[in-house]
Every structure is written in structure tokens, then in C-alpha cells.
């Protein structure tokens, strides 16, 4: 493989470029591309790098607000959190690599998203992981869960960045295509933000970090191609993560960033040196020349093609102010990292690559960015699923509750999060197990509330409403801890955009996202699309995962879901209609995935949420949980388990309404617990604001033997011990091969 390998139609096809795309390349260059250039085009024009199927639709998303400093288009989004502090965050998928090699795939996913955050000058302070696996009975699932979780843990733990929240769920549509979405949140000072625009000519281009090997060549094109039986053979592309080197890289970068030597900096992610160099030049309106002989190399005889396309991890590219090279080099040497000046910026707007004295690539930088193809792919919008599923009204409620609490999706994910260091950095004031994690802004009383959410079964029933719901749930989880929802990052996992039905899901999903983010003043500041999540023609459930970040003014005024006192009044905010369509109950107890998903009234979400947040901020409520998967009774049970305090429900519903009332998944609801004497005032305040509030019962029920129980009018007591056993047992037993 050399620059001189001939480019035949066969070779073009192998690079995943269509004939029309190839013609466009020829016209942009005014000649045939050589082999290196073809490789560069193929990665830069891949779905993964160019967003060619989604770009036209993503443009419609709301990305602005007075507190947004940087929206989509940079390595990560940035919001202003006051006092000169900014929060930098982004989420990204590593789905395909994690299916092929779960440990390394997930680990390098975490490493990649951390680099996106610290390349902007931020110290990462929290990590989140949204995981979807195939059905538990699938022969690969257990191995994938074990590998992914330990991969995420090994990387994040070594970096010393707490992994504070996430999601773990199972569905057969992910059997051959798991989802591993990693989010990273960092903190920087407003006057110390770094961007990737390589402005100016004659400035040194510097390579730092690990050496380059043949890792992950064509990873970017792999992530853009549908999986088939032989993709398990595409194995040499697997990258191995080195969190030790990344930790050194983080510290070295932050140390250099404390000076003013850097003009621009960008991590080498997908498509490595190619995308970092061309994007930096493109954004800065400059050109760049690089000499591959200067690239630190781990293996012998690397070709220009391999070096340009290598996805070796833990590398960064920087443009320095001239004359500052020695100072920068001293820092990177101190951290025992490679440092090499590999090129220079120019004013030619061209990417010129030299190897062994020859020019091996020469192309206009805009040909790789602006000129990349954009497709208005044909789509059909499927009619949403409708109807109300039937159910057996005579089933015993408490037995169903116990069963639901022990199902793979609803059970405790303690087995997962205990493998993550969630306490390092000594600022995790709300840990895994709550609605949103809260990480204190170091040295202040401010807090960042972080969550990831999506309910794929809703998105399948109705991609538009489902996407709205994902945003609403993230917003609600932040609200439930007392945070003001600030902004969103997303990871849009869909199937094959070349199929009109799947494209329809993408279009409707993006519309729903936009609608919800606009209504909730919750702009999207960064994100990532992962398409072609499909195995042998079967697509995954549409899974637009939302990563939300909110701000708490004072972490001392924070709510959590655990009941804190016996005798508190339990109050539900938001009306319960009893919507069972697409509910956990109908799936787990009736064995059907049926009906319309719950509609999301965004104005109501806002009204109810703002009310709850005011209660928290004013010190009137410290015990709050949003109602989501599983419905009201599940929320009440989760609060009881978290606090080890039981509850008695006094609500008088007709018996035949029990199931929809307790297990319906109507949106815009919260359960709160307040001291008894404050209950009337809270309810009166709600009524005055025209908000539905209802007194449900009291915390603190015990059996005759003194054991905490959950019980109610017409509901026999169930001990928390029994609920806890059901809730905590499934995952560890499953992972031990026992279920």
C-alpha cells in the first residue's frame, strides 16, 4: 500500500464512495485522486465524519441561548454557568467497536469523549454512560455487558474522573448491535477556552501524545457501514486504549493551556491526523502542510495512507504561537509524552502532505468539509402506533410491583456503577441511583446536574413523541434534584438512513427533539449521530439518547429521591390519567409491546417542573423523584428503597382503576415527600398555580414486626426487604450466570 497504488473503480467501491461521489472528488481536485487522497476523502466523506444524511435536518435544531457560549461544530458544547465558570460537554457513541471488542471498544469510547472535552481547555469532572444491550437470553449479551462495563470502568477509573450516572437497558433489537454512548462533562474558565481554528500562516503544527500505529484504520468507515456476518472479520481495526497515557496527556495539555502558547488544539479522533489537520485548517480559514516523516511512529514501514488514516488513541494536534515550541516541548517531555513539530500552517487553504520527500496528498481543505456531500434522503413517516392495550384488571398489584422491580430494565444497576469510581475528585454530591447525578463545581457551592435519558420503546411507537419524551425526561431528572436545566448533548442512534422508513424515524426524531428543546429552553450544544445500527437488515429501536446538564445555585439546597423522615406526606405533582400504552407494565406483566406512547405536553412539563424546582430552591422540598418508567407505584417504591423507609398510600381509587393509576406512564409528574405540617401549604400553593397536586399518603409504614413496608388502601403490605431483594438480585445473578 503506497501512494502509488492505483485507484480503480473496485478500490473506490471498497472505500465506500459512490460513483457520483467519486466524480465530485475528481472535479474538486481537477484530476484523479491518488490512493492516499482517496483514503482521506473516504473517511472525511463517511457518514460518521460528514453527517451527510443528517446535516440538512440537524440544522433545524435550536442551538442558541444567552448562556450558550459554543454550540455544535466544535469538539464539545460550552455553556456559561456564572462567576467566570463554563461547563463543556458532549456525548458520543462507540457502538460498533464495542460490539466487536466490548472492553476495548467501550474503553476507547470513554477516552475519545474525554479528549473532546479537555481539548477545549476543560478538566473533565464527570462521566456518564448510556448502554443498550440485546435481550438477556441472547448468547452474547452477558459477555458484552461484562466487557463494556469493565472497559468503561477501567478507563474512567484510571483517569480519576468519576462515572456518576447512566442507563442500562436490554432489548432484542440490540442483539447484534449494542449501543455504548459515553458522555463527558468538564469545567473550564470562561477566559481559558481553547478552539480548533488554526488561524494564521507560518505557525508550527505540533503532534503530541502517543505514537502512531496501524490502529483502527478505517474505523470511521466501519461505523458507517451496516453490519453483516463478516464484519466480525474486520477485526484488526480494534484499538486498544491506554488510559495511563491519556491521564498524562490531560495533565500536560492543561499545564500548557495555563500559558498562552496555543493558537488551536484538536484531538485526533475518528480519521485521526486527516480530520484533525484538515478541520483545524478549515475552521481557521488556513491551509496546512504536514511532513509524515516527523510523525512519531510505533511500527516500522507505516505508509502515508496508514498514517493519515490511523486512529491510534491518546493523540492531539496543536498549532502553537511561533517561538513557543521549546516551552511546550518541555511540558510534554516532563509528562513523558511524544512531542513533534510535524508541519506548518499556510495561507493556501490546502492540505499538503509529504512523505519521504514526496507530496503524497494535495487538496483544498474545503473539499473535505463544506464540499462534502449532503443528502436529502427520501423518507416516509410511519404512522404512530395507537390504541390502548388491554389488561387483566384482577392481577394483584403488589405482586406485579415486585416482579417489575426485578426485571432487567427496572432492576438496580448497582452491579454496574459499583465498578465505577464515582467518588474520586471528592465533588460527587449526588451519586448513581438518583434521578440526576450532581457534581459540585470545585471550590464553590454550585452544582452540575447530569443525566442521560431516552425510552426507545416510545420512540419506536412514535419517533416524534418519543424524542420529545427523551428531552422531557432529561429535563425532569435535572429538575427533580433541584437543577435548572441548561443545555443538551445528544447521541442519535438510528438504523439505516438509506431505507426510507428508517430515514423517516430520523427526521421525525430530530423534529421532536427540536420541538421539545425549544419549548423547554434547553438548547442542543453538541452531539453525535450513529447511523446504520442494523444487523442483517434488522434495525435497532430508534434511540435518540439525550444527555442533559443543569445548574444548581447551591448544592445545599438539593433534593434526592430517598425518603428522609417517617411521617412525611407523600404528594404527587401532575395528573395521572392512567396511560398504559407502551408501558413497562404492559410489556412485563401482559407480555405485549403495544399501544400509543404517552403524549408529552411540553407546556405542562414546564409548568409542573418549574413548580417543583421552586419548592426545592426555597427549601420546601428535599425529597423528589420524577415519575417515568414503571409509573407512580414504582416511583414510590424506589423512594422507599433508597431511604429504607416504608409508605402507606391512602388514595381511594376504584379497584379496577388500580393498574392504570399505579402503572400508567403519564408524563410531567413528580412524587415529593414533605413534612406533614407543610403538606397543606404545598397543595394550596399548587392549586393556586393551577397545578395538579394530590396527597397520596405517608412515609414510615411498618409491619407488626417493625419491618418497613409499602402498603395502601386495598393494597396488602409488601416488605421493603422483599422489594429490595427483587430489585437488587437480578443483575448480579444474571452476570454470575445464574439466571
Amino acid at each position: 500500500m503506497t501512494a502509488t497504488k492505483t485507484v480503480t473503480p473496485e478500490v473506490v467501491r471498497e472505500h465506500g464512495l459512490s460513483e457520483a461521489e467519486y466524480e465530485k472528488i475528481k472535479s474538486l481536485l481537477g484530476r484523479e485522486p491518488n490512493y492516499v487522497e482517496l483514503g482521506v476523502f473516504s473517511v472525511m466523506w463517511s457518514e460518521h465524519c460528514s453527517y451527510k444524511s443528517t446535516r440538512a435536518h440537524l440544522k433545524k435544531l435550536p442551538t442558541k441561548a444567552p448562556w450558550v457560549i459554543q454550540g455544535p461544530g466544535e469538539n464539545a458544547g460550552i455553556i456559561d454557568i456564572g462567576d467566570g465558570d463554563v461547563c463543556v460537554f458532549k456525548m458520543e457513541s462507540h457502538n460498533h467497536p464495542s460490539f466487536i471488542e466490548p472492553f476495548q471498544g467501550a474503553a476507547t469510547g470513554v477516552g475519545g469523549i474525554m479528549r473532546d472535552v479537555f481539548t477545549m481547555g476543560a478538566r473533565p469532572v464527570a462521566s456518564l454512560d448510556s448502554l443498550r444491550f440485546g435481550e438477556p437470553s441472547h448468547p452474547k449479551t452477558r459477555h458484552l455487558v461484562a466487557g463494556v462495563v469493565s472497559g468503561i470502568g477501567s478507563y474512567g477509573n484510571c483517569m480519576g474522573i468519576p462515572t456518576v450516572a447512566g442507563e442500562t437497558a436490554f432489548h432484542k433489537s440490540y442483539n447484534g448491535n449494542i449501543l455504548v454512548n459515553a458522555m463527558c462533562v468538564g469545567l473550564a474558565r470562561k477566559d481559558k477556552i481553547f478552539y480548533s481554528a488554526a488561524k494564521g500562516a507560518g505557525n508550527p503544527v505540533v503532534y503530541v501524545g502517543s505514537k502512531t500505529g496501524r490502529d483502527g484504520i478505517h474505523g470511521a468507515t466501519m461505523a458507517s457501514a451496516e453490519f453483516n456476518e463478516d464484519s466480525e472479520e474486520k477485526r484488526p481495526t480494534v484499538q486498544v486504549g491506554d488510559p495511563f497515557t491519556e491521564k498524562l496527556l490531560l495533565e500536560a495539555c492543561l499545564e500548557l493551556m495555563a500559558t498562552d502558547a496555543i493558537i488551536a488544539i484538536q484531538d485526533m479522533g475518528a480519521a485521526g491526523l486527516t480530520s484533525s489537520s484538515s478541520e483545524m485548517a478549515d475552521k481557521g480559514g488556513a491551509g496546512v502542510e504536514i511532513d509524515l516523516d516527523k510523525v512519531p511512529q510505533r511500527e516500522t514501514n507505516l505508509t502515508a495512507y496508514e498514517m493519515m488514516l490511523s486512529e491510534s488513541q491518546e493523540r492531539m494536534l496543536m498549532v502553537l504561537k511561533p517561538g513557543r515550541e521549546a516551552e511546550a516541548e518541555r511540558i510534554f517531555r516532563k509528562w513523558e509524552l511524544d512531542f513533534s513539530i510535524i508541519g506548518v500552517t499556510t495561507d493556501t487553504h490546502r492540505l499538503i502532505v509529504r512523505h519521504k520527500g514526496e507530496v503524497v496528498a494535495d487538496m483544498p481543505v474545503t473539499s473535505l468539509s463544506d464540499a462534502a456531500p449532503v443528502y436529502e434522503r427520501p423518507f416516509v413517516k410511519r404512522t404512530p402506533m395507537t390504541g390502548e392495550p388491554g389488561f387483566d384488571a384482577s392481577r394483584p398489584v403488589m405482586d406485579s410491583l415486585v416482579r417489575i422491580m426485578g426485571t432487567p430494565d427496572m432492576c438496580s444497576k448497582r452491579w454496574v456503577w459499583e465498578q465505577y469510581d464515582y467518588t474520586v475528585m471528592a465533588d460527587s454530591v449526588q451519586r448513581p441511583g438518583g434521578d440526576a447525578a450532581v457534581v459540585r463545581v470545585h471550590g464553590t457551592n454550585k452544582g452540575l446536574a447530569c443525566t442521560t435519558d431516552v425510552t426507545p420503546r416510545y420512540c419506536r411507537a412514535d419517533p416524534y413523541e418519543g424524542a420529545k419524551q427523551a428531552v422531557a425526561e432529561a429535563w425532569r431528572n435535572i429538575t427533580a434534584v433541584g437543577g435548572v436545566p441548561m443545555a443538551v448533548t445528544d447521541c442519535l442512534n438510528f438504523s439505516n438512513p438509506e431505507k426510507p422508513e428508517a430515514m423517516g424515524e430520523i427526521v421525525a426524531g430530530i423534529e421532536g427533539l427540536g420541538e421539545a428543546c425549544r419549548a423547554l429552553a434547553f438548547p442542543i450544544v453538541s452531539g453525535n449521530c450513529s447511523l446504520y445500527n442494523e444487523t442483517q437488515g434488522e434495525g435497532i429501536l430508534p434511540t435518540p439518547c439525550i444527555g442533559g446538564v443543569g445548574l444548581l445555585k447551591d448544592v445545599n439546597r438539593m433534593a434526592s429521591l430517598a425518603y428522609k423522615r417517617e411521617g412525611d406526606a407523600i404528594i404527587v405533582i401532575g395528573e395521572t390519567g392512567g396511560h398504559l400504552g407502551q408501558s413497562v407494565y404492559i410489556r412485563e406483566i401482559e407480555g405485549k409491546e403495544e399501544g400509543a406512547c404517552p403524549p408529552v405536553d411540553l407546556a405542562l412539563e414546564k409548568k409542573n417542573g418549574d413548580f417543583v424546582r421552586t419548592l426545592i430552591e426555597s427549601g420546601h422540598a428535599d425529597t423528589v423523584h420524577d415519575v417515568s418508567d414503571g409509573g407512580l407505584l414504582v416511583a414510590i417504591a424506589e423512594m422507599a428503597l433508597a431511604g429504607g423507609i416504608g409508605a402507606t398510600l391512602r388514595m381511594n381509587y376504584e379497584h379496577d382503576r388500580f393498574i392504570p393509576v399505579f402503572f400508567g406512564e403519564d408524563q410531567a409528574r413528580y412524587v415529593i415527600a414533605v413534612p406533614e405540617k407543610a403538606a397543606d401549604a404545598v397543595i394550596a400553593r399548587a392549586r393556586k398555580a393551577d397545578i395538579y397536586a394530590r396527597h397520596l399518603g405517608y412515609t414510615g409504614a411498618r409491619s407488626d414486626g417493625g419491618e418497613p413496608v409499602l402498603q395502601g388502601v386495598g393494597l396488602p403490605p409488601v416488605t421493603l426487604a422483599r422489594l429490595r431483594a427483587a430489585h437488587e438480585r437480578w443483575l448480579p445473578e444474571y452476570m454470575a450466570g445464574k439466571s
Binding site: 471488542e101 500505529g213 484488526p236 486498544v240 497515557t245
Partner: protein, 80 residues
């Protein structure tokens, strides 16, 4: 029968541990140390007495469990 199985990273696959060990050995003054790679050694006892069968079994064990053939290769050594 006893078997020793050596599981090592394929050539070209990054070996951060090996790299760090090499670096540390150089730092300790062992300057003649070049490339270092770290792998796994698995020793097992087999009740099997038929050597051919044992070899076939061991190969299968490696493929199925002991080596991650996506990034690792293996070598089997059988001892009586």
C-alpha cells in the same frame, strides 16, 4: 497432563503495559532492554490422557475463552 498456554497481543496491537514495563526497566538501568510485550500465562491440569484429544480441546478453549482472538494470539505447550 499439564498444559501451558501463552496468550499474547497480536503484532501491531498496542501494548501499553509492555511499553510501561520497558520504560521502567530502562529507567532502572537495564539499558539493553528493547521492546517488551506483556501477555498471559495460563497453566492447567487436564484429566485427558489422549494427547490429540487434549490438543484439540485446548485449541477450542483458547478460541472460545482463553484468548480474545480479535487482538490476541495463543500458543499451547503440552507436558506429560
Amino acid at each position: 497432563m499439564k498444559a501451558r498456554i501463552f496468550v499474547t497481543l497480536k503484532n501491531g496491537v498496542l501494548d501499553p503495559q509492555g511499553k510501561a514495563i520497558g520504560h521502567a526497566l530502562n529507567g532502572l538501568g537495564f539499558t539493553s532492554v528493547g521492546d517488551v510485550r506483556q501477555g498471559k500465562l495460563i497453566e492447567l491440569e487436564l484429566k485427558e490422557t489422549d494427547e490429540a484429544k487434549a490438543r484439540a480441546d485446548l485449541k477450542e478453549m483458547c478460541e472460545k475463552l482463553l484468548a480474545n482472538t480479535i487482538i490476541e494470539k495463543y500458543e499451547v505447550e503440552l507436558r506429560q
